[in-house]
């Protein structure tokens, strides 16, 4: 009987102490859920498409992202939308970070930095267009290409310098030139010669869709052991004479088929790993 009484007392004590704890936890959970709900409402109000919101929420649910972190990520997407920046790079980065099990706080930090980079690149491009009296709009694809070069080896200073030295060209041409510059920097190409190649390309309107593969040809030549000076000389003579990438490849001893991209009607494997 005594045992029963003491057991009942113990159970009662546990129950009494557990109730406030549970209430507290529920309040906390409710607050967090409210945070997500509020963030989602703000996202809808800002015009973030339902598909995007669902994509984010299901990603968070599938990967067990905490509600508070989820609310923060949704809020950043809202900020991106309010700034009228392309959302896809940010959504992709969230997906990548979550899939790679990066802590949510680090993902938030990366996204905030990315947002600053996009604002910087947009402002720089806008100033460039104004300076040259160009009334073109910067297409999202061009803005993405220009900004993402900051993650491909170019610094903000590099980007500013290219735009400062570039003649009046379209944002698309600008993006292609920036890609070439980033490729050259990644393979450690002589910086002076890189600048010469890019400025010659601008001068002779070489950075067009027809000359795709040019950057890869330079990289292939460099990897095959051709000197920077020889590559630069061949590149600039090709640009000046209105030559083609195929001609440039033959000058530096690179197979054009290695750098050419498949046409839509002739699909074929692209990448062959090299170690």
């Amino acid at each position: 009987m005594t045992f029963r009484k003491s057991s009942l007392c113990l159970l009662a004590l546990i129950a009494v102490s557990a109730v406030p704890l549970d209430v507290g936890a529920q309040n906390n959970q409710a607050g967090v859920t409210h945070g997500v709900t509020q963030a989602v409402q703000e996202a809808k109000k800002a015009g973030v498409p339902d598909e995007t919101i669902n994509r984010l929420l299901s990603l968070g649910y599938d990967n067990g992202v905490e509600a508070a972190s989820m609310a923060n990520l949704v809020s950043i997407v809202v900020e991106v939308k309010n700034e009228d920046l392309p959302q896809e790079p940010f959504l992709n980065k969230i997906e990548e970070g979550v899939a790679k099990h990066v802590p949510a706080a680090s993902i938030e930090q990366v996204l905030k930095q990315k947002k600053q980079d996009y604002l910087f690149a947009r402002s720089l491009t806008s100033d460039y267009l104004k300076k040259h009296g160009l009334k073109q709009q910067v297409a999202p694809k061009d803005l993405v290409g220009i900004t993402e070069s900051l993650f491909s080896g170019l610094s903000r200073e590099d980007l500013a310098l290219i735009m400062e030295q570039a003649p009046p060209v379209s944002p698309t041409t600008l993006r292609r030139a920036i890609h070439i510059q980033a490729s050259l920097k990644q393979v450690g190409f002589d910086p002076k010669l890189s600048d010469q190649i890019v400025s010659t390309g601008f001068k002779h309107n070489f950075f067009t869709h027809q000359q795709r593969g040019f950057g890869r040809a330079i990289v292939a030549g460099k990897r095959n052991g051709v000197s920077d000076a020889k590559i630069a000389e061949a590149a600039m003579s090709t640009m000046q004479s209105g030559g083609t990438v195929a001609g440039f490849c033959s000058q530096i001893g690179v197979s054009f088929s290695d750098v050419d991209r498949p046409r839509d009607d002739v699909p074929r494997p692209l990448f062959h790993g090299r170690k």
Binding site: A182, S183, H209, G215, V219, R223, R261, P269, G273, K275
Partner: protein, 205 residues
């Protein structure tokens, strides 16, 4: 039609009349007996206890499942039905094999018509497992494992992707590594490098 004899019909009618008379007599007897029964009030709770006793108890789902699974059953089929179900099963298996072609290791990540085959090849003799993760598979490695050719150090996988711009990396024994020798890599912001892959008419790397 055979015509019935009048004598036979008459006999049958007489028999039926007698049967009816006996039935009525029985009912009258029961009625008089019921009238003689003393009027007694039923005890309280009789109705509920009777209802409780006769109520059917719901058997738990697991028990019903167990009983269903352990009871003997017989199946009936027609040759036509058997042929149809066999054909359906074969179709299912064939579809699964098409999706994951063990010989060529081709995986279709998109059902669109404009798919470009991309061959991922990696010389990595010491690796135990190689997967590819990227923006084309939401960075999830499960369906994109590279397969080692017999007697070769080369790991291979062919994917069919839509034209576009992708980032990817290899997971070599669980470690993120950009494509060795790729032309263009990017910092992923999380301390690793991704390789950039541009497919289609608009690529310009």
């Amino acid at each position: 039609m055979e015509k019935k004899q009048p004598e036979e019909t008459c006999l049958k009618t007489a028999f039926c009349a007698r049967e009816n008379t006996i039935g009525l007599e029985k009912i009258d007897r029961i009625k008089s007996m019921m009238r003689k029964i003393p009027r007694i009030e039923p005890p309280a709770g009789l109705l509920s206890s009777v209802m409780e006793a006769v109520r059917t108890r719901r058997v738990p789902l697991w028990l019903r499942t167990y009983r269903w699974a352990t009871s003997l059953r017989s199946f009936t089929f027609t040759p036509l039905r058997l042929a149809t179900s066999t054909a359906f099963s074969v179709l299912l298996v064939f579809s699964a094999l098409l999706l994951h072609d063990g010989g060529n290791h081709k995986i279709a990540l998109d059902n669109s018509k404009e798919l470009i085959p991309v061959e991922f090849a990696l010389d990595m003799p010491d690796a135990h497992s190689v997967q590819v993760v990227g923006s084309f598979n939401n960075w999830v490695p499960q369906p994109c494992e590279l397969h080692q050719e017999e007697g070769s150090a080369r790991w291979m996988l062919t994917l069919r992707l839509q034209p576009g711009r992708y980032e990817y990396a290899f997971l070599i024994d669980g470690k993120h590594v950009p494509h060795p020798g790729a032309e263009f890599n990017k910092d992923d912001g999380f301390g690793n490098q991704n390789t950039v892959l541009a497919l289609g008419p608009e690529d310009d790397i």
